[in-house]
Amino acid sequence: MSTFVDEYPTEARVIRMAFWSSFVALTLGAVFGFIQALHRTNVVRVIDSTDYYTVLTGHGVFMVITFSIFFLVGVFQWAVTSSLERGPVDIRFTWSWYGVMSLGTTLVAIPILAGFTDATDMSADVLFTFYAPLQAHPLFYIGLVLFVIGTWLAGADWFLTWWTWKDDHPDERIPLPTFMVLTTMIMWYISTIGVAISILAFLLPWSLGLVDSVNPLLTRTLFWYFGHPVVYFWLMPAYLLWYNVLPKLSGGRLFSDPLARVVFILFILLSTPVGIHHQYLDPGIAEGFKFIVMTNTMFLLLPSFLTAFTVVASIEHGARQRGGEGYFGWLGALPWRDPSFTGMALAGLVFSFGGFTGIVNAGMSLNYLVHNTFWVPGHIHTQVGTAVALTFMAGAYWLVPQVTGNQLASRSVGLFQVVLWFVGIVFMTNAMYRGGLIGIPRRTAEPQYQGFEYEPLVGSIAELDAQVALGGTLLFLSAILFLWNMLLTAFNSGSEPVVDGSLPPALSGPEDSPRILDNLKLWTALALVLILLAYSMPLAGIVQDGGLFGPNVDAFPVFVDAVSTAVDATVRRLPLESIRGLIT
């Protein structure tokens, strides 16, 4: 049986490197996550609380930028190569985007990790949202820009491959995996414009001391212009695996190719003009714009509802092919011993639950209750931390043997690992959700305060803390088992991969859908119109009220700019200076 690595050895090397980079980031992110889970629940505190935010920045950046996006480029390279049955136009170009992404990651990591040592002033304790006027070292911004440019080049590589394929196959429909890659990259190009402007026009010149100040609301809004579509960027490779690989793993075929295309087009159209729903509680943005964004966000549920149907229908079809019967009896006929199947199925289950909590976030008047509370990391850990991460790990059990040519070191450890992740996430996130509802904040080293106490509706704070600490510990163990399994697989040479990499065609194929679905230019143009409608007026208002470069806000802390940033000490608050000095 010929595997991917035999047919495309050079492409398999790029994919392997992308996966290994991703897993290195996962290692760091997991260690940091473990420290946080124990620290904020006050179970074990191995760091100072002031260093907690360095750990938190590392956890966020390494997990959601490095781990997820490096894995994404690996999956996408595999999807394009295998579905178009051809390699990149020039493999040196492919290596160059991998190189740019790696360089970017390294430059981002240096100032983050430098935050742990006092030997240098360098730091980037700004979390992965880097809201100004909190300022990171210029290297942090330069690294981010390089990383994003690397992904742009990767997208260009896949488009080039597709264009040359199209010359040879003028009348064929775009194969579904490639269609998903191209549409996701269009969404990514459109959405990264926001963060590129934010960094290149404002934050980087400001961190270099070239401009004195920025408009905090403007850079924040530009961040969220990118910040919501980026979650779909993490999610789309998981969707790609659910649509293309999961039906096969369950023994059947994808239910509907046309609906899959519709889903990805809806993501191009709707994932960007919704970013302001992260800013429901921001002053300086009119209520009407928030309302428009709320309705857009609710319609963005549609592609996920459609996905739930198609994926479950495909799995059921597979189960019936395997002899499953009855209304629910078919569930028993599924290959639950296969870690790839079980991991993806559990990830999908958690995703559907997390989706409903997202509806709460999106409901603008409900948002007052949960905004920036522990509820929000509950949501992000069910979605990115499980729907995406667990699907990636399950996907790795299927893909890594194909790109290494080695057999998976241990299927049973893999199965245990994905179930352990599921159990850990249930403990941790249910406590996060409940903690958020009683007002416990997110992103804090010590959610215990002197002047007041929380009033839990059910249970107690100690019980919530215990669940978070236990869940975090199980997740950490699960991550270590996964990484260990991958390491052993990487060195498991001489073995034969026992994975069948072929993907069966959909029950309802692309011939059932109108060709207009493949008209990528049309959907891109429509997406731009929707974005213009959602963003032009709020952005104009923010710039008009607060100025392009802001109302002269000082950076904090300052790295290059020598201008004094001493906070205006008022006479009536003089005694406080000593306290503030102690804290900072």
Partner: protein, 187 residues
């Protein structure tokens, strides 16, 4: 386009659900009057807050029979007024009052989140958030900053005290002296 019958049903059901969500949220905003933080308040210069008419001397001001305005400055790492731990006054208002908070930041982005309530807003330098709430019952509330704002973020907290109407001594003309009276009443 060929779509399976069940899938069509699901599509319609999903759309109905989505429209239902939008209707519910719209009712919450319009019917129940839960307004969003918006862009109505004027912008300010965060470097010149001391010269600002209201933020120059933040605190509680009575503006009507049962109506109060509270100007709050958030900073690394406290609320003025509010942060009792930092030696500042708590925010004190009477029960059965309508209170409008005006909140801004003098340094980085913070939040003004009142625990156990849905009073929750960002405090962004240069921008002013205005939130109008009704305090029906006497009681005490904790305020915290829920937006990461620097290494001392977790120490940033404050307090709102809602006094019984007949024990609320200040008449809003001078908050600084008024507070002494209130403290004595409580003691």
């Amino acid at each position: 386009m060929n779509i399976h019958r069940y899938e069509k049903l699901w599509l319609v059901a999903a759309l109905v659900l989505i429209v239902g969500f939008i209707a519910t949220i719209t009712y919450g905003s319009v019917g129940l009057g839960i307004a969003m933080i918006d862009d109505e308040a004027e912008t300010v210069n965060p470097e010149k807050l001391n010269e600002h008419e209201d933020f120059g001397e933040p605190g509680v001001k009575q503006v009507g029979e049962n109506e109060y305005e509270v100007y709050v400055r958030a900073w690394q790492f406290g609320f003025d007024p509010g942060s009792v731990e930092a030696g500042l006054d708590p925010i004190e208002v009477p029960a059965n009052s309508t209170v409008t908070f005006y909140i801004t930041s003098e340094d980085v982005i913070h939040s003004f989140s009142v625990v156990g309530t849905n009073i929750n807003t960002m405090a962004i330098p240069g921008e002013v958030s205005s939130v109008t709430v009704e305090f029906d019952e006497p009681g005490e509330y904790g305020i915290l900053c829920a937006e990461y704002c620097g290494a001392g973020h977790h120490t940033m907290e404050g307090k709102i005290i809602v006094h019984p109407e007949d024990e609320y001594a200040i008449n809003g003309t001078d908050v600084e002296t008024g507070n002494d009276t209130t403290d004595e009443t409580e003691a």
